[in-house]
């Protein structure tokens, strides 16, 4: 069988996390709210109303355009896309067609040993439609989602595997959260992806007939659906059949693709400029204000962590997964005097655990980055031992007090005073003649038990290595 290559383009719809809808002051987020409770005459399409655009939508679009290396257009326009569907009360969707808010752009995906450049073919703002539910031969409509702001972003046919498609969505989701543009939760449909899939012989550069996969609502589902569809297409071609330009519906439960209705052609939408709205004017001054505090982006920061702190790529990836965690790490590094890898280890093992357990963002912890640095420093300088250090994390988090304060108040300071440890160790040896006999009789493993006894008696404060040495000394004298 000849070798085939998969060609994928992704069409994403991103629900913005604004307070209000795009053209009216209704609340944008209706997650788990009763049907038709966040609607007004504008978004439910009553006659005689006029849309008034939400400035925050343009601002978020400018942020995304900047992050995608796209060019923001000073003037852009809204258009009407006309079609009949019960979820669209006006009979048209307000979107942007030939003069969108940004043009061009790309995202470079790190794929381990190579980088895949994904071009952005389209980036525009538009309104969402409502939700319909089929029951019997009737449809029930909830207009809450009508007018929720979306950015539609379409990539070129640049992705070459299901893994690259999944990576694109992972990096896009990371970016959207990093810039506070969208919650980007695929299960809640904040981020929706349709995949255009075709195949060709490896080495060819023509584009063959593609199919479009819809209704995939997780990154794993995108990966699986693309793999299945590519396999199907290869079999069709091998069997001598043509690929038809189908729209395929993904069924989450059965993990199967099935054919959907044939699409109306583009010309049938009869796009024309929205007469109820003027141009969106994003002049340089406004752009400058929006981009004034534009942050370092996750992929750039990831690279910097590798270069600047000599962290392994694995660590850098985790530490830049989310902005709050990443900022926290850097603040801790600034406050800490020592090997940055130490801070990374504590972050990845302990801080991550605390965040998972509490559901908090790193920036919300009472355990400030400076306190984390202080705790690691206390352990480094042997002022407390490692287990005490770990327990300090939760103590600081629950009280908000500084580590030093807790160490002093609870007397947690590690006993490195050989005299004090020797005294305890001697007492343990004297109290346990049977165990001593067994140990001296060759049960070397019992040393651990003795160390444990010393630790217990010292309430965890003894330096365990020192305790072991002193015990060995005592035994060697016997």
């Amino acid at each position: 069988m000849p070798e085939y290559e998969i060609v994928i383009g992704l069409e994403t719809h991103i629900q913005l996390n604004t307070e209000t809808k795009i053209f009216c002051a209704c609340k944008a987020d209706s997650w788990e709210e009763e049907p038709n409770t966040n609607i007004c005459p504008v978004c439910s399409g009553l006659p005689g109303v006029l849309p008034v655009p939400n400035a925050a939508v343009a601002e978020k679009a400018v942020l995304l355009a900047q992050a995608m290396n796209a060019e923001v257009q000073t003037d852009s326009y809204f258009d009407r896309k006309n079609y009949f569907y019960p979820d669209l009360p006006k009979g048209y969707q307000i979107t942007q067609y030939d003069q969108p808010i940004a043009t061009g752009g790309y995202l470079d995906l790190p794929m381990g040993d190579y980088t895949r450049r994904v071009e952005i073919e389209k980036l525009h703002i538009e309104e969402d439609a409502g939700k319909t539910k089929k029951e019997g031969n009737r449809r029930f409509i909830d207009f809450n989602r009508c007018g929720v702001p979306l950015i539609e972003m379409v990539t070129g046919p640049n992705l070459r595997s299901a893994d690259e498609a999944a990576e694109y969505l992972i990096r896009l989701r990371q970016l959207l959260r990093w810039l506070n543009i969208s919650e980007a939760n695929m299960e809640k449909a904040h981020l929706r992806a349709d995949a255009n899939v075709s195949i060709r012989l490896k080495g060819e550069d023509k584009l063959n007939t593609k199919t479009e996969i819809k209704n995939v609502n997780s990154i794993e589902a995108v990966r699986t659906a693309i793999q299945k569809e590519a396999k199907r297409q290869i079999k069709e071609v091998e069997d001598g059949n043509d690929i038809k330009p189908w729209t395929l519906d993904w069924d989450e439960d059965t993990e199967m693709l099935s054919k959907m209705r044939s699409k109306e052609t583009e010309a049938d939408y009869r796009h024309f400029k929205e007469p109820d709205l003027l141009k969106v004017h994003v002049d340089q001054a406004w752009q400058d204000r929006i981009l004034k505090d534009f942050p370092e982006l996750p992929l750039a920061r990831r690279q910097r962590f590798v270069d600047e702190y000599q962290l392994p790529a694995y660590d850098a990836d985790i530490l830049t997964n989310e902005r709050s965690l990443s900022d926290y790490f850097e603040q801790a590094v600034k406050a800490y005097d020592g090997d940055v890898k130490r801070v990374s280890n504590w972050m990845i093992n302990d801080i991550q655990r605390m965040l998972n357990e509490s559901g908090k963002m790193a920036g919300e912890l009472k355990l400030k980055p400076e306190y984390l640095a202080e705790i690691i420093q206390l352990v480094d300088s042997k002022k407390v031992n490692n287990p005490t250090g770990k327990s300090l994390l939760d103590k600081v988090e629950s009280t908000g007090k500084s580590p030093q304060e807790i160490v002093e108040a609870e007397g947690l300071g590690q006993v490195s005073d050989t005299g004090a440890i020797r005294e305890i160790a001697q007492a343990i040896v004297d109290e346990n003649p049977d165990q001593v006999e067994k140990y001296l009789g060759g049960k070397d493993g019992l040393i651990g038990w003795f160390v444990g006894q010393v630790m217990q008696k010292s309430q965890g404060k003894a330096n365990p290595n020192m305790a072991r040495e002193i015990l060995l000394e005592i035994f060697s004298e016997k």
């Binding site: 209000t20 655009p53 343009a58």
Partner: protein
């Protein structure tokens, strides 16, 4: 420039209009005459004219992102022909393919 009957039927379908044979013929003439008028305008040379979308004020007023309440559920649904479980109930419109 006369539209074909098929073109009129296509336009009617997009607007979900049921036209009688007599109406199809009438609209065919009317639509054709509108297109003829536009064709006349297209004869003008506009190479040096900037495209114009609107003659209104240049800047569009934007709204601050502050929520305010819209319609109550009662107001939203009281004029609807059919409502069930607080939702608008409508007949299927994509016969066959979708339903």
């Amino acid at each position: 420039m006369l539209l074909s009957k098929e073109e009129v039927e296509h336009i009617a379908m997009l607007a979900r209009l049921n036209l009688s044979e007599e109406e199809k013929e009438r609209y065919r003439e009317q639509l054709s005459s509108i297109l003829g008028h536009v064709a006349q305008l297209q004869a003008l040379n506009t190479d040096d004219v900037e495209p114009l979308v609107s003659v209104l004020a240049k800047e569009m007023p934007l709204r601050e992102d502050l929520p305010s309440p819209g319609l109550s559920l009662k107001e939203a649904t009281e004029n609807a022909p059919d409502v069930k479980a607080d939702q608008f109930k409508v007949p299927p419109i994509l016969d066959g393919a979708d339903e």
